[in-house]
């Protein structure tokens, strides 16, 4: 057993996971019967809250007609749920690999709930994309086999990065979910999907925050050098930025009949209003990473 996985055997984590597993069992629902799936959703209104659109707050937003904004909101919502489908598939693979691995005993029971729920999330997100967008936007990532964080094949580094990535991904998604669940101008199906996902995710995020913090403490107390820890910090910082940048998908601009999607993406990413929007989306993630010392606090 690695030094890392002993890290998860704390009375406090066990107590939290017992509580979350209990709650998962009590709140269990049949996702296949939970939602209304009308044949189509109205195209004369937004499918995503206006402040979540990638053009929001920029001069470019003002140049689009109402119809173009509606179209963009449709494709950017399909992009959002597509990112969920791909993100969930990857996290399911990683959590499934670890579920009964030595050292993950304290988390196994909760991981069963997690895996079950994520499979269901992937189902309703994929269903949304296919039913209302006719497609899932393809995943552009490829495993390059490069090592990260100076850890080589060190399982302690790999475990930490897996759970840190899952947590960051879930926190970003949750920002969008909470906003859309509360947005009364959106269609009931859209609000319901976002509300139900947010409810499950609040358990995943509570558990994930503790796991990531404990795994990071174990790395700090291990023989990792300051440079190796800094490499992990730099990686996570870039992971966070890249995750946000995935919301600027040139394919969405093309599908909304907006030309030169790649150039538009670059222009929007450089816009100060978007930097400010990113700070809002990431505020919970950044304060967690700073509080735990995973990112330097400035």
């Amino acid at each position: 057993m690695s030094v890392l996985t002993r890290a998860l055997d704390t009375p406090e984590l066990r107590e939290l996971l017992d509580r979350l597993s209990e709650k998962a069992a009590a709140d269990y629902y049949n996702p296949y019967r939970t939602f209304d799936w009308p044949a189509s959703l109205p195209t004369d209104r937004l499918w995503m809250s206006p402040d979540l659109l990638s053009v929001h707050g920029t001069p470019y937003e003002a140049s689009l007609s109402e119809e173009q904004l509606y179209a963009l909101s449709r494709w950017e919502s399909v992009n959002f749920y597509s990112l969920n489908v791909h993100g969930i598939r990857e996290l399911l693979i990683e959590v499934t690999r670890r579920i009964h691995r030595p050292g993950f005993g304290p988390t196994s029971e909760f991981f069963h709930h997690f895996i079950g729920e994520e499979n269901e999330h992937m189902w309703f997100f994929a269903r949304f994309c296919l039913r209302y967008g006719g497609k899932i936007y393809p995943d552009r990532s490829l495993t390059l086999g490069q090592e990260t964080g100076g850890g080589g094949s060190d399982p302690a580094v790999a475990d930490f990065l897996v759970f840190a990535r899952i947590l960051i991904f879930e926190q970003i998604v949750d920002y969008y979910n909470m906003r859309m669940a509360a947005d009364e101008s959106l269609a009931p199906t859209i609000r319901a999907v976002n509300r139900v996902h947010h409810q499950d995710e609040s358990r995943h995020i509570a558990c994930g925050s503790r796991i990531v913090e404990l795994l990071w403490r174990a790395l700090e107390e291990s023989d990792k050098t300051a440079e190796q820890l800094d490499e992990l910090r730099a990686y996570l910082k870039r992971y966070t930025e890249t995750s946000i940048e995935n919301f600027y998908n040139p394919s969405c601009y093309r599908d909304a009949n907006i030309p030169d999607g790649f150039a538009l993406r670059q222009r929007l990413l450089a816009d100060p209003a978007r930097q400010e929007a990113h700070r809002r989306v990431l505020s919970r993630t950044n304060s967690f990473l700073r509080r735990t010392g995973i990112l330097a606090g400035h």
Partner: protein
């Protein structure tokens, strides 16, 4: 109009300041000129210069490994290429 490979070289230069001229057969992945986090934007760029979607999930890493491979696999016959139309 700039050759599509120029856009790719410009993107690589922007992501890797100070790297200088990249030889056509240099391994972009081994040399970390593209890493897993940068790869997605790289594909967006490649889709933009080729004007078509790439089904990355069905592709092999070797297709992207060098500038020469990228030109051969994705941009044959572009403006100053051999079979320009």
């Amino acid at each position: 109009m700039a050759h599509p490979m120029d856009s790719i070289r410009a993107w690589l230069a922007e992501k890797n300041p100070g790297v200088g001229e990249i030889p056509p057969d240099a391994d972009l992945i081994e040399n970390r000129l593209i890493d897993s986090l940068g790869f997605m934007e790289f594909i967006m760029l490649l889709e933009s210069v080729t004007g078509r979607d790439l089904a990355v999930e069905t592709m092999e890493l070797s297709q992207f490994r060098t500038l020469a491979a990228i030109e051969k696999n994705f941009l044959p016959g572009t403006p100053d290429g051999p079979d320009a139309s």
